[in-house]
Subunit: 385 residues, 2 copies
């Protein structure tokens, strides 16, 4: 028995997505830049996928640039915009951005950029007024994520976008966790650049996109044959992009129903889990992703909990998979105001389309006893007794 | 009936490769950075693929950095090395490099780098002595491709590598066309950095690698969670990488036999095609990739020939798919000394593992009459009469 509750890290490819991809490996395998029939069929498939992805965020298809994933999209948005507009050298981000936003900014900082890192409140919310106050004449862009990957908090990006538009500053949002999960409208939300990833919405890994509002110039990360309107050279990953398109089309149809169902499962999970003594919820109680729950358990290590639950056949995480090898506590949890030892005791349960009530029941059956057993052997517990 | 003879642009995924990939979409779909079983199975699959890719070029597995493809690998090699060694600002390339090498260098040129572009002889060969003469105290790297994507000429990279090693200059080779087709030994050839791609060897699109000799530091293009030894952040494309590994393993076993068979097919194609009046072979008669033939036909446009053959169900190209939308003649053919009108009349036939003698026969059956008919309506022909 294995129960997968780590859908914020990655998801299983939907069988319908895989079916859509299959013909593009060994049959319609052409290079989309080729003149012949094989190439033209690949090109048509690419453009069809582009329309499906664009439809999910109400953008024009030609504003979608396919990339290898969310990290590349974030890097292209931030460095690409910086290189294309070298006269402005100030960038505003939040303290809870993903590493794929923070690290490109850190790199730019070494090259003369000034990076303002805005704090968040105890729920992980960025204050739009703080964004407004931080904007200066030399501000190039604001990059605030749509929803946080660890705690699921949904940021007020529509208000932040409106402020950026009024102040004539570019607004980028890392929407890797929200894309396909909650509604996005790039016009209504005043978004100039948006990063999304396929493998978080039951599409294949290795594919993502950057939405680039018409008229915005970027310098590419990958120079070459001029693919993707010159913004991302390299032979297009046709099968992967077809899968991404199909996953986006399915999300458009099923997002509302999935969100409703997962929210109910999540809320049940939260309610039951908080009955465990010395536990708490990280992130906002309501303004959070339908599938995200993130708990704190005093006196224990989140990693030990993950490993114990894995032995019970349940896959969860402490937070971001991308920093699972790091011994540092989560920068997101620290930004909420948690102490180091509190930040070490986190458990992220992230639900996806294929999870059922039975999965939650299975977790709830073993979680209290697992927490209890770990506390019995915890050196922190003894210290606190 | 469709006959695919454009394997230098891309290849069909080998059914054995697709079979190896299948479990990694919807079953073993974990994020390779996750601590739980799903993650660990993904990690094991990644490392297995890394060993298979490394074995094909006699490198250590830890020297293989997985990327999204050849273009990204070339960009990472060139810009990454340049950023990591800012004290040296001279780069040497050849006049027939792929756009994915030329364009990153052009971009660096705008940022203060000096780029020496070495000429080639009429076969497309770079003179190692010219490389040696071009090296200066401020030379950072030499980037010369292993085999050319349009004309198939194989460069003397072992000699070039030895010169670079002796002069203490980094040597990068774009091996996208040669990897898996002809033997490569990174130690014997003194290669420091090597770019390869999966979809040219019957693996999936959207995957490639950069070989980075141990001890060489690079600045990543994609900053983030620190994947791939910090050189390439972003959730690894597990299914794609597994496919790349399988394609590399198959190539290691079958390369020698395939090369022998394809060389015979190619030579028959060349011999018969050159019986057409006013035709010639572009590239070296022997020192060329087993599957590559590139012809010139006086008085006609290559694109018209490609489209006519496509109507006969035969997929070929004029040269690089990556520049098929450009109206400019091939920079490779011009570098050989061809005139503009000669460079416009090229036809690249590139054979792959799944091509048979019957495919060549089918092409040879229609090629002479197609060339003849196009010449009848050619304005160039009338001019030359």
């Amino acid at each position: 028995m294995t129960i997968y509750l780590d859908n914020a890290a990655t998801t299983a490819v939907d069988p319908r997505v895989l079916k859509a991809m299959q013909p593009y490996f060994s049959k319609h395998f052409g290079n989309a830049s080729s003149l012949h029939g094989f190439g033209q069929r690949a090109r048509a498939a690419l453009e069809d996928a582009r329309e499906k992805v664009a439809a999910l965020i109400d953008s024009k298809p030609e504003e979608i640039i396919f990339t290898s994933g969310g990290t590349e999209s974030n890097n292209l948005a931030i460095k690409g915009l910086a290189w294309a507009h070298p006269n402005k050298k100030h960038i505003i981000i939040s303290a809870i951005e993903h590493h794929a936003v923070m690290e490109p900014c850190e790199w730019l900082r070494k090259h003369g950029y000034d990076i303002t890192v805005l704090p968040v409140d105890s729920y992980g919310l960025v204050d739009p007024k703080a964004v407004e106050r931080a904007i200066r004449p030399d501000t190039l862009m604001v990059s605030i994520m749509h929803a946080n990957n660890e705690i699921g908090t949904i940021e007020p990006i529509e208000r932040i976008g409106a402020i950026c538009r009024a102040k004539d500053v570019f607004f980028h949002t890392d929407a890797v966790q929200s894309f396909g999960k909650i509604p996005i409208d790039v016009d209504a939300m005043h978004i100039d650049l948006l990063s999304a990833s396929s493998h978080k919405i039951h599409g294949p890994k290795g594919v993502g996109c950057l939405y680039v509002r018409k008229g915005i110039s970027l310098v590419p990360l990958a120079h070459g044959g001029g693919h993707e309107r010159g913004l991302r050279s390299g032979t297009e990953n046709v099968a992967g992009i077809v899968g991404f398109g199909e996953a986006a089309a399915i999300a458009k149809k099923e997002m509302a129903a999935d969100a409703k169902r997962l929210t109910a499962l999540r809320d049940r999970l939260i309610k039951e889990t908080l009955k465990i003594q010395d536990s708490w919820l990280n992130g906002h109680p309501r303004q959070r992703l339908p599938g995200n729950a993130n708990f704190g358990f005093r006196y224990i290590e989140g990693e030990a909990l993950v490993l114990q639950l894995d032995m019970h056949g349940i896959a969860v995480s402490t937070g971001s998979a991308c920093s699972s090898k790091s011994l540092e506590p989560s920068h997101v949890l620290l930004a909420l105001g948690l102490r180091h030892e509190e930040a070490h005791g986190s458990l992220r349960v992230s639900l996806g389309k294929f999870n059922t009530r039975a999965d939650i029941d299975a977790l709830l059956k073993v979680l209290p006893q697992t927490v209890e057993r770990l506390r019995e052997i915890s050196p922190f517990k003894r210290k606190y007794k």
